[in-house]
Structure formats: structure tokens, C-alpha cells
């Protein structure tokens, strides 16, 4: 007779290693990582593409510009010659490696080059905003949850106030104000039109969405035996937070990363589409969609391509988020199955 059944077998691996192994074995991880890597690599190649392949400056209007295609000089914006000769259309995709592979926008700029540069900005804002949100939300969540009482009440009420506003309404309001006057707070000064403004705005508006669950988790952790033991043994608050609380909160934060990047990216695109995110001549996928809106009938790709890039990136990030969540918290998957 044995007393050790399979359910009681203890693995010698740490939880982190188990989670990593689970994550690596998940097909979704590979699909998402491959797509994201490809997109990031392409966007990082934007300067090279503009300088060596398209050989155009995607930030300068070239409305009266021309380029050589099949040994012929072609106007970037072409006057209609049919019927009454009304309207001017930017050149469509040439589908040839070189200038205007995906055509031009209404300023005569290379759409492919702007798509890559736009991706750089959209992803940068997505990752930077998510980082800002997670950093501040984790600090606030832990401080509120661990301190309790007055500190918790103050932080929670502030978060409630932000939470009370729909996230897009708050983002739009802040953007409209800050884009006109810029942002100045103590030594921090951001000019109107700065790329850091959307990062700041998006980073701030999502804090309650992360801070509240973290606070709840910390409140629960505070009642656990190992935390009480640490308190009883006379450990300092800082030690308890960094050695006992934080390591248990980090998995939750890791699960939030892909989700928040995806949300931040979508919010940036929405703001830029409304002309209150990334400012011209800089590009983001949102601004390119807006540029393409007036060309839907003649050059639909200008609006569709950045939309497609947003969808692929958001889906990849969500797949990655699901995989991370399942790896760190297998019970969540089981709960989902039932």
C-alpha cells in the first residue's frame, strides 16, 4: 500500500518555470509571437524602407511630385481627364518594389512608408501607455490595498472618480485640452502635438481598470498567513511589500500586459482618427485611416490597410494575453471550460 497517489506528487519545478513551459507549449503563443515579431520588425524597418526602397519622405507633402515607373514619369496626384475632368486622385498601388508600392495619400506621400512609420508610433504609444498604466496602477493598488483605512479610501475614491467617466470620453476631453495648450506640471513640460501627450493621456485613463483588481488582490494577500507571519516577525512594510506582496501580484500584472497594450493601441488609433492623437505630419495607423476616409471610393486601401494592421496586432495581443493567463493561472482555463 502506498500513501502517495498521483495527486499528491509534488513537482520540483518552480511555478514560474511551469508557467513558462506551459506558455511555450501553447500554439497560440507561437502564432501571436510570430505575428507580433513580424509587425514590430516591419515597423522598425520604416526608416530603411523610406530611405532605400520608396526613396520618398513620408512626412513631406509632394502634391505636385512625380516619380519614375516603368521608365515613365508619373504624377503622384493625377488630374482626372475623363468626363468633365473633375477631381484629383492620388496614384494607387504600383505593386512594384520602389516608390508608392501601396500608392499615395491625398498629400502625395508614400502610403507604405507611412504605414510602417505609423505602426512604429501606434506600437510605441501602445506599449509605453500600457507600461505607464501598469506601473502606476500597481503602485497605487499595492499602496491602497496594503495601507488600508484612510490611504485606501483616498486612493479608491480618486480611482472611482476617474472610473466614473467613460474611458473614451475622458481621453477625448483630455486630448482636446492638452493638444491646444500642451501639458506643464512642475518640471514636466510637453508641447502641444508631442507624441508623449497621447502616451500620458492613455496611460492615465486606464489606471483604475488595473489598480482596482490589484488592490483587491493585495487586500486578500494581506490576510494570508505568510504575510501575517512576516508582520508578526517584525518585518518592515517595504520588505513585506517587495518580498511577499509584489511577487504574488506580478503574475496578474503580466496577464494585464497584452490586454493593456491592445487597449492602449486601439484608444490611440481612435484618438488619432479623431485628429486628437498623433499630430501631422507624424503618422499612426489611426491618422492614416482618417487620411484614407476621403479616398474610400477611389483608393480604399489607404484606409483599409492600417485598419487591417490594427486588427492583426490586436488579435495577436489578445491571443498572447489568453495564453499568458492560462499559463499563470490554469484554474482560469478550467473555469472558462465550464
Amino acid at each position: 500500500m502506498t500513501t502517495a497517489g498521483p495527486a499528491l506528487e509534488l513537482s520540483s519545478e518552480s511555478p514560474g518555470k511551469i508557467a513558462f513551459r506551459t506558455l511555450v507549449r501553447d500554439r497560440r503563443t507561437w502564432i501571436a509571437a510570430s505575428l507580433l515579431s513580424l509587425i514590430v520588425a516591419l515597423t522598425l524597418a520604416a526608416p530603411f524602407y523610406a530611405a532605400s526602397i520608396s526613396k520618398t519622405d513620408p512626412f513631406v507633402s509632394t502634391i505636385n511630385g512625380t516619380f519614375i515607373l516603368d521608365s515613365k514619369e508619373i504624377a503622384v496626384l493625377q488630374q482626372s481627364t475623363e468626363g468633365l475632368g473633375l477631381g484629383v486622385n492620388p496614384i494607387g498601388p504600383t505593386w512594384q518594389i520602389g516608390p508608392y508600392f501601396l500608392g499615395a495619400d491625398n498629400q502625395g506621400r508614400d502610403v507604405a512608408a507611412r504605414l510602417l512609420y505609423g505602426g512604429t508610433n501606434t506600437l510605441l504609444i501602445g506599449f509605453a501607455s500600457a507600461a505607464l498604466t501598469l506601473l502606476l496602477a500597481t503602485i497605487l493598488g499595492i499602496v491602497a490595498g496594503y495601507s488600508g483605512r484612510a490611504v485606501d479610501s483616498v486612493i479608491s475614491r480618486i480611482l472611482d472618480v476617474i472610473w466614473a467617466f467613460p474611458v473614451y470620453l475622458l481621453s477625448i476631453s483630455l486630448s482636446v485640452v492638452l493638444l491646444t495648450s500642451g501639458f506643464k506640471w512642475g518640471p514636466i513640460s510637453l508641447e502641444a502635438g508631442s507624441l508623449y501627450l497621447p502616451i500620458l493621456i492613455i496611460g492615465l485613463v486606464y489606471i483604475p481598470y488595473v489598480a482596482r483588481p490589484i488592490r483587491g488582490q493585495v487586500l486578500a494577500l494581506r490576510e494570508r498567513e505568510f504575510v501575517k507571519a512576516a508582520i508578526g516577525s517584525g518585518a518592515k512594510n517595504g520588505t513585506i511589500i517587495f518580498r511577499e506582496i509584489l511577487p504574488n501580484v506580478i503574475p496578474s500584472v503580466l496577464v494585464f500586459i497584452p490586454l493593456m497594450v491592445s487597449l492602449a493601441m486601439l484608444t490611440e488609433s481612435a484618438l488619432s482618427f479623431l485628429s486628437i492623437g498623433v499630430q501631422p505630419p507624424d503618422a499612426s495607423w489611426g491618422t492614416i485611416i482618417r487620411d484614407g476616409l476621403g479616398l474610400l471610393y477611389t483608393r480604399p486601401l489607404v484606409a483599409l490597410l492600417p485598419g487591417l494592421m490594427i486588427v492583426i496586432t490586436a488579435v495577436s495581443l489578445n491571443l498572447m494575453g489568453d495564453a499568458v493567463r492560462d499559463a499563470l493561472d490554469p484554474k482560469a482555463r478550467l473555469r472558462g471550460a465550464f
Partner: protein, 575 residues
């Protein structure tokens, strides 16, 4: 005047207007009209009837003809309200001429042009059945001030007593300036000084004759009885404006107020420009107010050329540069912008060469006083101008920016946030960056951009805007937009957006207005020279002269285009 939405209060101009002749040359090439230029076809009763369906993105605000200052509703006022005078309702350049409307004849001038005597026609009734009397005329002119019409100070301040009315609108009394005689039906208007443009001003909707008991405040959405062939039946700015026949209308002067064809006019609001195009294509609407979206122009010009009408306008798109703040307080910086601006590029953004022409002068081609010259094209200079604009000179622009010592300055480009204006702004931003500035684009709502760029408190450096004539006189461009009196610091009604005030040139403008009283030809020549002198200092960069595109449904006939008020709505036949 701005093309559609608003012109906010013009300016508190203390005009020293002087006389001038009527009309003015016009070389604008109309095309695609159904009528004979200069003559309205005799009324054909068999074509009367039906409902004309107009569509627009939005309404134009108040229905009050003394207050509303939009082309959108001015077009309708042509078929609803009448003044003592009217612009001739015909196709072509003769539409710039004034003709007697409620008055029996053009005014008799006396006292050196300071007294105008009219005789009111008898037998004309308002749509509510009451007779139009000289009392209504006097009350209407007083009402211009009582309701603080946006042009009260700019256009009608020359009437004796107007100064007091401007100070205290509520108690306005023009007993000394508008003298009426009920027995003879005579109206005598007394001016403080001769005014060459007074006939034009009396023919504008702001001088419409309304019942004497019309409210002394903005009538808003409540219709005021009319004298023309239509009256307003209902108005919901979020939905629809409906005009029906005025049962008391009887044609008295076909050139001034011709009988109308459609039985009803229904103006529907709330459709996007794309939806408006589709509605007309699907025969659900007859005409659209808003510009055809850029990506539909080619399609419509190819598939439905017979339904598109294009006309040159006496208007301009231009870039006022604030001469009072850096970097454009430096003339070389302003000249650099003028050299760098590729007018062809802006024409392309507007829709191409069929819809606009590059321009260099402040007075549009075909306008009284216009003179061909261009100081800011490649190979030309202020001292040796070319005849017309040919191409930009970026190198010279860069050199001027360096010489001005303003290189690297931050410049904000303020534009309306609609598609075309934003694209223009983006292009201007790109040009400014090219020549050495650090430009940012500031798109703001179309509803406030025009007043925002006027107020010096907003410290606007450069903007993109438009000006469409109020009436065919050079002063309506040069003096209104660049005269010292039009610059009112801190006001939303400072139409001189560049803040330009050259006292010597201002005196020349006033003298040219005076000269027009006796010698209009010489005055026009002087206006041309003034234009050149102003542009040498480059307070603005003129971009192009736009054209009007009307897209009509297949069933609409008898299209006539007045150069003053554009398509004559009442003359369209839909039956």
C-alpha cells in the same frame, strides 16, 4: 462673406465710403446654365409645380433675414424677401447689377449723393395679407440696428442717426435718416456722406423689408411674413425647412423678383456629403449644398456630366499672416511664405484645375479693379512682378527666411477641421517646415474657426480661410479685409485677420472710394495699384480662386446662375 456657415459679425467699420457706379466687369466663365445669359426666360406656367428637394449637412441658424449671414439662407431669401432694390435675378454678370424691387425705380440722388429718394410700389402684400407700406420700410431699417444685424455697423452706419442706433440699438430711431411720406409713398434716405455702394447694400437680405411689427429681436426659427413668391411654412434646424407659395405674391418686376416654378421647397438637414450625393444620384434629392467629396468628383464628372454645373466665383482662398507677432511681423518671412506656396498644389487639394485657378492678387479675376500681376512666382519680385503665377520658388523662400532671422521659429497653422481645409493646412505645414520653420497644425471646429482666427487674443500666426464677395466692389475685399478700421484687437469681429494697417495705403483706399463717386474707371485702376502695393508687403498669401459646383438631379431644368447669389432656386423646374 463666407460661403455657407456664418459670417459672424462683420466689423464695426466706420466706413468713409464713397460713391461708385453700378455693376462691374466680370470675366468669370459660367458654364452649364439652361437660361440665356443676362435675360430670364419668360415665365412658363406649364412648368410650374412639384416639390424641389434640397439637402445639406446642417441648417444655417436663424431664419431672420436681418441677422442670418450665410449664403445658404441668402440663396433662399432671394425668393422670399425683397428690399427696395434687388440684384438682377438673371444668369451671368448682369446679376451684379441692382434693379428696383419694392421701389418703383432706382433712387434719385440729390445733395451730392447724400440723399436717396425712392417711391414704394403700391399693391404689394406680405404673405399674411397686409399691404407693404412706407412705415414697414422705415421700421425695417430701424430693425437692422435693433436686432444688431452683423452688418449694421459695417454697411448701414452711413444713414443719419445710425451712430446713435449702434450705441443704443433697442431705442433705434431713424427719423432723421429715413423720412417717409405715407401720402406719396416716398422714402428719403439721408446719408452722412455719399456712398457708392449704397445700392448694393440696400439690395442685400439684411435690408429686406419686413412688417413693421416684426419682433425687435432675433426671430430664430419663427418665420417672418415674406413678400416674395415663397413663404416659410416650418423650420426645424435639426430636420427640415419648408417653403410654400406665398398666396399674395404677384410678379411686379421680373428682373427683381420673378415668379417661381416649384410649388414647394423642402430643405432637409442632417445628411453627410456622401449621403447627399447618393440621394441625388438615386433621385431622392434635387440639389446639395455641401461640396462634393473629393473621391466622388471624378465619378460624377464622368458618369453624370449633364447634372454638374460649374461657375467661376469672385472669391478667394487665402492665408492671412499675423503681421503683429513673430515670425510674420517680419515682411521677409511673409514674402517667403508667398514664394514657397505652391498654388497648383492647393488647387489640386481643392479638386483640380476644373474647380479652381491659382491666384496671386487680392482682387479676384473678373472683379472690379482686378489687375494681373504676381510678385511671388519663380523669377519675379516685388520690383519686377510677373503677369501670372507660374511656380513656387522654394530656394528664394528659404533664403528670405534666413535673411529674416526667423528660421526655426514655431508656427501654428489654424484651419477648419473639415477634410479640404485640413488637407490644405497639412500642406501649408509641410511647406513651412520645408522653408525652415517648425510648424504645427491646429485644426479646430468649422463652427468657430472663422471667429477664432479673427481674435488677436488667440495669437493666431497663420491660417487658411476664404472670402466670398458681399457685393461687387473692390472695397469689399481690400478695405474690408485689410483696412485699418477692420482691425479690432481682442474682438471676434476683426475681419482684418492679418492685423495689417498701413496708414498710407489705408488713406489711398479711402481716396479710391471717394474717387469712385466721380470716376469709377479711375477708381478701379487705383484699386488695382493698391492691390499691388498691399501685396508687396505680403500680409496674406492668396492661394486660388474657387469655382462653384452645383450637382443637380436629372429632373431639374432651367438652371440659372447669378454671380451674386449663385443658383436661382425659385427658377428651377422640377415638373
Amino acid at each position: 462673406m463666407r460661403p455657407s456657415r456664418k459670417l459672424a459679425a462683420l466689423v464695426a467699420l466706420s466706413f468713409l465710403l464713397s460713391a461708385c457706379g453700378s455693376g462691374g466687369s466680370d470675366s468669370g466663365s459660367g458654364s452649364g446654365t439652361d437660361g440665356k445669359e443676362g435675360v430670364l426666360a419668360p415665365y412658363d406656367a406649364t412648368k410650374a409645380g412639384g416639390t424641389l428637394r434640397l439637402v445639406a449637412k446642417g441648417a444655417a441658424g436663424t431664419l431672420d433675414p436681418h441677422i442670418n449671414y450665410t449664403l445658404q439662407f441668402w440663396q433662399l431669401y432671394q425668393a422670399t424677401y425683397d428690399g427696395l432694390l434687388a440684384f438682377r435675378k438673371v444668369d451671368g454678370p448682369r446679376s451684379f447689377e441692382t434693379v428696383p424691387d419694392l421701389a418703383e425705380a432706382l433712387p434719385e440722388l440729390s445733395d451730392g449723393g447724400k440723399t436717396l429718394t425712392f417711391t414704394l410700389r403700391k399693391g404689394i402684400k406680405f404673405s399674411d395679407g397686409r399691404d407693404v407700406t412706407v412705415k414697414d420700410v422705415k421700421a425695417s431699417y430701424e430693425r437692422i440696428f435693433k436686432v444688431s444685424s452683423p452688418t449694421a455697423g459695417g454697411f448701414y452706419n452711413g444713414i443719419i442717426g445710425a451712430d446713435k442706433c449702434l450705441e443704443k440699438p433697442a431705442t433705434c430711431n431713424l427719423d432723421q435718416g429715413v423720412i417717409i411720406d405715407e401720402a406719396t409713398n416716398q422714402i428719403v434716405i439721408k446719408l452722412t456722406a455719399p456712398d457708392a455702394t449704397i445700392n448694393y447694400k440696400l439690395a442685400l437680405p439684411h435690408a429686406s423689408i419686413l412688417p413693421a411689427d416684426a419682433p425687435s429681436k432675433d426671430a430664430g426659427t419663427t418665420p417672418i411674413p415674406t413678400t416674395g413668391p415663397y413663404m416659410f411654412q416650418s423650420y426645424d434646424p435639426n430636420k427640415e425647412l419648408k417653403l410654400v407659395r406665398n398666396p399674395n405674391f404677384k410678379e411686379w418686376n421680373r428682373e427683381a423678383q420673378p415668379a417661381a416654378y416649384p410649388d414647394e421647397i423642402v430643405y432637409s438637414f442632417g445628411l453627410t456629403a456622401e449621403a447627399q450625393v447618393n440621394a441625388i444620384k438615386n433621385d431622392q434629392a434635387d440639389w446639395m449644398l455641401d461640396p462634393i467629396p473629393a473621391d466622388r468628383l471624378s465619378e460624377l464628372g464622368t458618369e453624370l456630366p449633364d447634372q454638374i454645373k460649374i461657375h467661376t466665383l469672385t472669391a478667394m482662398w487665402y492665408l492671412p499672416m499675423n503681421v503683429n507677432i513673430a515670425p510674420f511681423n517680419n515682411v521677409k518671412a511673409r514674402q517667403a511664405v508667398n514664394y514657397a506656396l505652391d498654388r497648383n498644389a492647393m488647387v489640386k487639394i481643392f479638386g483640380g484645375e476644373q474647380l479652381a485657378s491659382p491666384a496671386c492678387t487680392f482682387l479676384p479675376p473678373g472683379f472690379p479693379g482686378h489687375k494681373d500681376f504676381c510678385q511671388y512666382t519663380k523669377g519675379a519680385s516685388v520690383e519686377a512682378p510677373a503677369q501670372t503665377w507660374a511656380e513656387p520658388d522654394i530656394e528664394k523662400a528659404k533664403q528670405l527666411v534666413q535673411e529674416s532671422g526667423t528660421a526655426g521659429a514655431k508656427v501654428g497653422v489654424v484651419v477648419s477641421d473639415d477634410e479640404v481645409n485640413k488637407a490644405m493646412g497639412e500642406y501649408v505645414q509641410s511647406v513651412l517646415n520645408q522653408i525652415g520653420y517648425k510648424a504645427t497644425l491646429k485644426p479646430i471646429s468649422s463652427n468657430i474657426q472663422f471667429t477664432y482666427i479673427q481674435n488677436t487674443k488667440n495669437k493666431v500666426q497663420i491660417s487658411v480661410t476664404q472670402w466670398y464677395q458681399d457685393f461687387p466692389a473692390a472695397m469689399d475685399f481690400l478695405y474690408i479685409l485689410l483696412g485699418c478700421e477692420s482691425f479690432v484687437p481682442g474682438s471676434d469681429s476683426s475681419i482684418n485677420m492679418a492685423g495689417y494697417c498701413n496708414k498710407t495705403i489705408n488713406q489711398r483706399m479711402i481716396a479710391a472710394m471717394d474717387l469712385g463717386v466721380t470716376d469709377q474707371e479711375a477708381a478701379n485702376k487705383e484699386w488695382g495699384d493698391i492691390d499691388e502695393a498691399v501685396m508687396a508687403e505680403s500680409p496674406v498669401a492668396v492661394a486660388f480662386t474657387p469655382k462653384q459646383v452645383d450637382f443637380l438631379s436629372a429632373r431639374v431644368k432651367n438652371y440659372n446662375f447669378s454671380k451674386q447669389f449663385y443658383m436661382l432656386v425659385s427658377q428651377l423646374q422640377v415638373k
